[in-house]
């Protein structure tokens, strides 16, 4: 299995959330937007100069700050 931080996934790849390395507050906020363990995300835009990354979760586009993306552990689907 190939896990890494969400911030390290390249553009246009798909990945699956496996773990959150953050507090309850962060997990809650992400879960409100439908981003939970097991959720498949598509990377629309990777971080640029410390900026946020943009992912597609279901039919929702979400921008996630770099630090938060560092604490989301995902498993990259090999295509």
């Amino acid at each position: 299995m190939n896990t890494c931080k969400l911030s390290e996934v390249h553009k246009n790849n798909k990945c699956k959330v496996v773990n959150f390395e953050g507090g309850r507050c962060m997990t809650n906020k992400l879960s409100n937007l439908g981003i939970r363990v097991g959720k498949e995300l598509q990377i629309i835009n990777s971080s640029f100069m410390g900026g946020p990354i943009t992912v597609m979760s279901g039919s929702t586009k979400v921008a996630i700050g770099r630090n938060m993306a560092n604490r989301i552990i995902v498993e990259v689907n090999k295509l």
């Binding site: 906020k29 640029f48 100069m49 039919s59 586009k61 921008a63 996630i64 770099r66």
Partner: protein
């Protein structure tokens, strides 16, 4: 009275439904968090008055910010919940729906944006959903008025259903099950909107696009504003209004206190709307002819950008810059709103998460963002010295913004939270909604500005005849003169600026300032203190202690910036070498260590 609550996630169109049902206008936009306080409205149904409450959007009943807290508090008050959902985002929306269903309140579900499901290839089985939840489910398209009658028909719905969906994980797995049962998504090819949505957030394409959008917006705002002033407002005031007022002036005897209060002083036997300073001349001219055209053009463009859903894209693009001043990308939205009026901007700051961010954002906004009322006057007055002066104003304010911001970030313990923002789909704005919103903001401006400017003109006349202004320019005035190089009478403008910034700019007209002095005053009037309306909101939002700190920052900035401008623009020109102190200051700030105190938790609460 029956109370009906409109509840749902942010940006699902609750406010549009509210406006359509009650006829009361509320500002709605295509991004999360436009409604921060609840709004009440009424509608008549079969001789019964029903109260409808537009509740701020929330993702969950476990609130994470103040706007969401408001939403949860409202819950107990309602007789019926209308849960509004975005049908194109069913999964995420159902999380709140399931939580609401557990509350044992009569509830109906509105599947809004129903019209958009078709071209997004989404099929939702309404009947199945209805059976599953055992509550009425109504597809709606609020901007087009679809399905609203069905909602009204169900206003007497009283059945309470009992549901228990268990803990978070169980709830989400239930949602997954429901989605698989009721929703069918056909994968559609990338449409033009999809492409646009993506290239506007990718930095390499997004930043140039943002710059073009901003430049275009500025040009259009100025074009419409100047057009309205030059072709509508001024001709009306000069050729229709003035002759009437001149007759009135004769009737009042052309001089004396009453005459000067109502008509103002005649300049060479004629009325000068900028300089006469009577209630019916300058007092009417400033809000209606000088400022209103720019208010109209600004809010037209802002409304379009809001309803298209463009503003959150800017948040994403500036996120890393905003972290340098201790904020995250979302805080750019209050800053943009501040260019219209600082009051709604101060309210929007409530959406930020912790005290530190609220303080930094409020202080930055109130200190460096000029409102349109003032900008309209600045463009009119300073613009006549040359466009380069307008560029100076914006550049100086930007530099002050960066410096104060990074200083606060370094010196206030704590850290900036991370951006987490849903990006709305681009929508083609409905012209009716945009115009309605524009009308509402214009009416709001008139209701606020007209009385305040008239009060201002009244006070100016009283102060003038009592000799208060003379006393001020003799006592405090000389300090201003020495420090900032402006005439001592400029103190009058600073006094009036507490009331409103447009009238304060107006006070400068008779002084015959040089370009440099006008530039200095234009900038100082932005920085030194917010107008009373903004101050009241900030005081309420920040509390006395933080407001005091913010005031100190403003005062210091005023002295430093004013002094610097006096030095840098000597001889009415700017030389690149005079940037040296700014650069040095900037380098020093980079070396200031970030303060991490034990109390850092406190500011982040």
């Amino acid at each position: 009275m029956k109370k009906i609550l409109l509840m749902g996630n942010p940006n699902v169109g609750k406010s549009v439904i509210f406006s359509k049902l009650t006829g009361t206008s509320v500002v709605s936009s295509n991004y999360a968090g436009t409604t921060v306080e609840y709004t009440k409205g009424h509608m008549k149904l079969n001789n019964e008055t029903i109260e409808i409450i537009d509740v701020p959007g929330t993702y969950t009943l476990n609130p994470t910010n103040k706007a969401e807290e408001v939403a949860v508090e409202m819950l107990d008050e309602g007789d019926l919940i209308v849960n509004v959902l975005d049908s194109t985002n069913l999964e995420r929306n159902l999380n709140l729906t399931l939580q609401l269903l557990e509350r044992k309140k009569p509830m109906i579900i509105a599947l809004n944006f129903w019209d958009e499901t078709k071209h997004k290839g989404i099929k939702i089985d309404v009947n199945k959903m209805q059976k599953y939840f055992n509550v009425p489910v109504i597809p709606t398209a609020a901007t087009k008025g679809l399905g609203l009658k069905e909602i009204i028909k169900n206003f007497n719905y009283k059945k309470i259903v009992e549901h228990n969906f268990g803990n978070d994980d169980e709830r989400w797995s239930t949602i997954g099950k429901i989605i698989r049962n009721v929703q069918d998504i056909k994968h559609k090819h990338h449409s033009i909107t999809d492409v646009l949505e993506d290239i506007t957030v990718k930095p390499l394409t997004g930043i140039p696009i943002a710059l073009i959008v901003l430049a275009l917006s500025f040009m259009i705002i100025r074009f419409i504003g100047e057009g309205l002033i030059g072709h509508v407002a001024e001709p009306f005031f000069e050729s229709i209004y003035k002759p009437i007022i001149l007759k009135l002036s004769l009737l009042l005897g052309s001089d004396g206190f009453i005459h000067n209060l109502i008509i103002g002083e005649l300049i060479n036997g004629d009325i000068d709307f900028g300089q006469s300073f009577g209630l019916l001349t300058t007092g009417i001219f400033i809000p209606l002819a000088a400022v209103l055209p720019y208010i109209i053009s600004f809010y037209l463009i802002l409304g379009l950008l809001e309803d298209i859903g463009y503003l959150p894209r800017i948040s994403v693009l500036v996120d890393n810059i905003m972290h340098k001043v201790g904020l995250h990308g979302f805080s750019i939205i209050p800053m943009i709103l501040g260019f219209g009026c600082n009051v709604p901007a101060a309210l929007a700051i409530r959406n930020l998460e912790n005290r530190r961010e609220k303080f930094i954002a409020s202080t930055l906004m109130a200190t460096t963002i000029p409102c349109m009322s003032q900008m309209a006057m600045v463009i009119g007055l300073l613009g006549s010295y040359g466009n380069k002066y307008l560029i100076y104003v914006f550049s100086v304010l930007l530099v002050v913004w960066i410096i104060i911001g990074s200083l606060m970030n370094k010196l206030i313990p704590g850290f900036s939270t991370d951006l987490l923002l849903e990006l709305p789909s681009f929508r083609i704005p409905s012209i009716v909604t945009v115009l309605k919103k524009l009308k509402m903001r214009v009416v709001g401006f008139l209701a606020e500005a007209l009385p305040m400017v008239l009060l201002g003109v009244f006070i100016i006349n009283i102060f003038y005849s009592l000799g208060i202004f003379d006393a001020l320019s003799l006592t405090i005035g000389p300090f201003l003169h020495r420090l900032f190089g402006v005439p001592s009478e400029a103190i009058d403008a600073l006094i009036m600026g507490f009331l409103r910034k447009d009238i304060a700019m107006g006070v400068l007209i008779p002084l015959g300032l040089t370009g440099k002095q006008m530039l200095t005053m234009s900038i100082l009037l932005v920085i030194y203190f917010p107008c009373i309306a903004t101050f009241v909101i900030l005081l309420r939002e920040l509390g006395v202690y933080d407001m005091l700190k913010a005031t100190l920052i403003m005062l210091t900035s005023t002295i430093v910036v004013g002094g610097y401008l006096n030095f840098a623009f000597q001889g009415d020109g700017f030389k690149i070498l005079r940037l040296v102190p700014v650069v040095i200051l900037f380098i020093i700030i980079q070396f200031i260590p970030k303060i991490k105190s034990k109390n850092s938790v406190e500011m982040n609460e």
